[in-house]
């Protein structure tokens, strides 16, 4: 089992009536009314410190991600964050999990191939290369990519990236969306033939197919918990089986919100308002923006309109106890948290690469550190061995880190010669 700490880098101090006053947390929230650059500088530093702390506490990986024009999570360049993490964790066995730089918003997408190769070089081969499609808000609404071209651009950029990492000869790329006459990537990644690839998604069938065809790790990034993800993930494993791949649990990643305290009651006292802040404010986005016309192909559109399997409940009508009861958030004592994670997430969805979000919404820095610390000490060690007896190899993890069960407190002592 590999367990990584995920971070969104949210705005932690949105006004109480934010969701009533503003149209959306994404695309249109007014910076000048809502944020202050000096304060935001503190958020970035807290975020880095929280991830570095997680690395020090024994997490297997630290995850960053790319989003634009929003207060939900604003690391427009995950690789800037990732490079700090890579440098400062040198000497330890933590993976740098970029979840990641978004190909369709990078022009040319070769930029992602280059920066990931840099990160792999800086980190001594500890990169996990997340290659997300990007949300429609980011890709189409903020960055202007035509919704109908989003997936096609992604697929072309994905193929280009893989070829650019591996080609022995300089090559010309005469694509539909990208034309490059001399592709000759400098640098190349340390990991050969290329760093492990994760493709995050939110349950779209075409992304399942894509992930299985390309033999990458599919990561379901859900905020609705494992129970509502069950149908999706069962569908994913069916595709895996249908296409003749093995049922290696490391083919699946899952993101789960987690808060840990001495006991369940204390967890509510400490975390309830931050969880509600996250679901009420950080996800305040008009529904159509998640899937503007043209974003879904015709087949998926017909399927979604006729069988809305994810008839999402409106999280604004739910409170902390609802989120916990439904498994949106796994919360409580260490025992509660590890039992639920094991049963509902790891076993039920067959997940080998677990990501946990431990800084949630308005959660202040000190409390985030406390949550990370408690998780690392009292939950993580109990889950790490879950799949060991089945003997699967995590092909989607940096090779040199595959075998390590990271001791707590592994110190960062500077770059290891490679």
């Amino acid at each position: 089992m590999k367990i990584s700490a995920f971070h969104l880098m949210p705005h932690r101090e949105l006004p109480v009536d934010f969701e009533k006053r503003y149209e959306s947390v994404w695309v249109t929230p007014p910076w000048w009314e809502l944020a202050d650059a000096r304060r935001v500088g503190e958020y970035y530093n807290w975020t880095l410190d929280e991830l570095l702390y997680a690395a020090k506490c024994g997490f297997d990986g630290v995850c960053t991600n790319e989003h634009h024009q929003n207060a939900y999570g604003f690391m427009p360049s995950p690789n800037i964050m990732g490079s700090v993490l890579a440098k400062l964790t040198n000497g330890s066995d933590v993976a740098i999990v970029q979840m990641g730089a978004t190909l369709p918003t990078s022009n040319p997408p070769l930029r992602v191939a280059e920066e990931y190769a840099m990160l792999d070089c800086i980190s001594g081969g500890r990169l996990v290369a997340g290659l997300p499609l990007g949300s429609p808000m980011d890709v189409s609404l903020c960055y202007g990519v035509t919704p109908m071209e989003h997936r096609e651009r992604y697929r072309e950029a994905f193929a280009l990236t893989l070829k650019a990492w591996q080609a022995r000869e300089i090559f010309a790329w005469n694509g539909r969306y990208f034309q490059l006459a001399n592709v000759n990537l400098w640098p190349r990644p340390i990991q050969q033939p290329h760093p492990p690839i994760w493709v995050p998604g939110s349950g779209s069938i075409s992304t399942f197919d894509f992930a299985v065809e390309h033999d990458v790790c599919y990561c379901f990034l859900s905020y609705s918990g494992a129970r509502s993800a069950k149908t999706m993930m069962d569908g994913y494993w069916r595709v895996v089986a249908d296409k003749g791949r093995d049922l290696n649990p490391y083919r699946a990643g899952f993101l789960q919100l987690v808060v840990v305290a001495e006991n369940d009651a204390r967890a509510e006292e400490m975390y309830a308002r931050h969880v509600e802040y996250f679901y009420h404010k950080c996800l305040h986005v008009p529904g159509i923006w998640f899937s503007p016309p043209g974003n879904q192909d015709y087949r998926s559109l017909v399927a979604t309109m006729h069988n809305p399997v994810r008839r999402a409940e409106n999280p604004k009508t739910l409170r902390y106890r609802d989120f916990v009861e439904r498994g949106y958030v796994i919360a409580g004592s260490p025992a509660t948290v590890r039992d639920r994670l094991k049963e509902e997430v790891i076993d039920s969805l067959r997940v080998g690469n677990l990501m946990v979000l431990l800084q949630i919404g308005s959660m202040p820095h000190e409390l985030a550190l406390e949550n990370i610390d408690r998780f690392a000490r009292e939950v993580l060690p109990h889950l790490r061995g879950v799949w060991d007896d089945e003997g699967w190899v995590n092909h989607w993890w940096p090779k040199r880190l595959r075998e390590s069960a990271r001791p707590r407190g592994a110190a960062a002592v500077g770059a290891r010669p490679v």
Binding site: S140, L141, G144, V145, T146, P147, M148, E149, E152, R176, P286, G287, I288, W289, P292, P293, G294, N295, D297, Y298, L301, V302, M305, H306
Partner: protein, 263 residues
């Protein structure tokens, strides 16, 4: 009776269904972003004209994926030239609505001899920072309905948005609207200013602009952008209509078209 035929263009990769009816001078109608339906406006025009109404690529039922064979506006304009060729129409009166009016104008700019006249109903094609065209692809369907129509509860709106029951019919309507916006949106995302300003001077046809006074998607002020570049173009602003005057007041708009074309 409405005739229906499907033509293949673009090396056979793009199928375009064409609805037609009526006798008289040829009139080609280019529909807007919400798909083609044979509505009372077209019915009224068919009393005086031989109306030919093609579906934009991708919006023809059973051929949704054909849209993926077109990369941009230039491809689309060429497709329409091929279609007119296939229809045996050397030239015709062009009438277009919204996105379709922009397409009509682009075809008339690329092939000035193909357009005998241009009737542009609430056309897009230009951009003013101070009066942005609303991106209808960012609106949920209920909000959209209130933006297209002056009267969102009226018959015209009901016709476009269909019944809410049974659920399958409602779902089919949502698919039709979403897909039509996606397929047409491919040519205009994210700002519907795709260079018409560089090409519009090539238009030779007499032009009439029609705008609903209460257009809440494309402000009527955009008429100035067209008139500035097409000296002699007429402008009619209609009260009691939103972005689809030909649907909300079909008889009145049809009469305006007839009056204009008799000139």
């Amino acid at each position: 009776m409405i005739r229906e035929e499907t033509h293949s263009v673009w090396q056979g990769r793009v199928r375009i269904r064409v609805l037609s009816k009526g006798r008289g001078p040829a009139l080609v109608f280019f529909h807007g972003p919400w798909g083609l339906t044979w509505d009372p406006f077209l019915e009224e025009l068919a009393q005086s004209f031989s109306v030919v109404a093609p579906e934009h690529p991708g919006t023809t039922p059973a051929a949704p994926d054909d849209i993926y064979h077109l990369d941009g506006l230039w491809d689309l304009v060429l497709c329409y030239d091929e279609l007119l060729e296939a229809l045996g129409l050397e030239n015709a009166a062009f009438v277009g609505h919204s996105f379709g009016a922009m397409v009509a104008c682009e075809v008339a700019a690329a092939y000035p001899r193909r357009a005998r006249s241009l009737t542009l109903i609430a056309p897009i094609g230009f951009w003013r920072d101070a009066e942005p065209v609303v991106n209808w692809m960012m609106l949920d369907l209920d909000a959209l309905r209130g933006r297209i129509f002056r009267d969102p509860a009226g018959d015209a709106a009901k016709r476009m948005f269909g019944p809410s029951e049974p659920p399958d019919a409602a779902a089919a309507t949502r698919v039709r609207l979403m897909w039509s916006m996606g397929a047409t949106g491919k040519f205009i995302w994210p700002i519907p200013d795709k260079g018409l300003k560089k090409r519009i001077h090539r238009v030779k046809a007499p032009t009439l602009l029609l705008w609903g006074q209460d257009d809440r998607l494309v402000p009527p002020a955009y008429a100035d952008e067209f008139v500035r570049r097409l000296p002699g173009a007429g402008v009619q602003t209609m009260d009691g209509c939103g972005h689809a005057p030909q649907l909300e007041q079909p008889n009145r708009v049809a009469q305006m078209v007839r009056d204009f074309l008799r000139l």
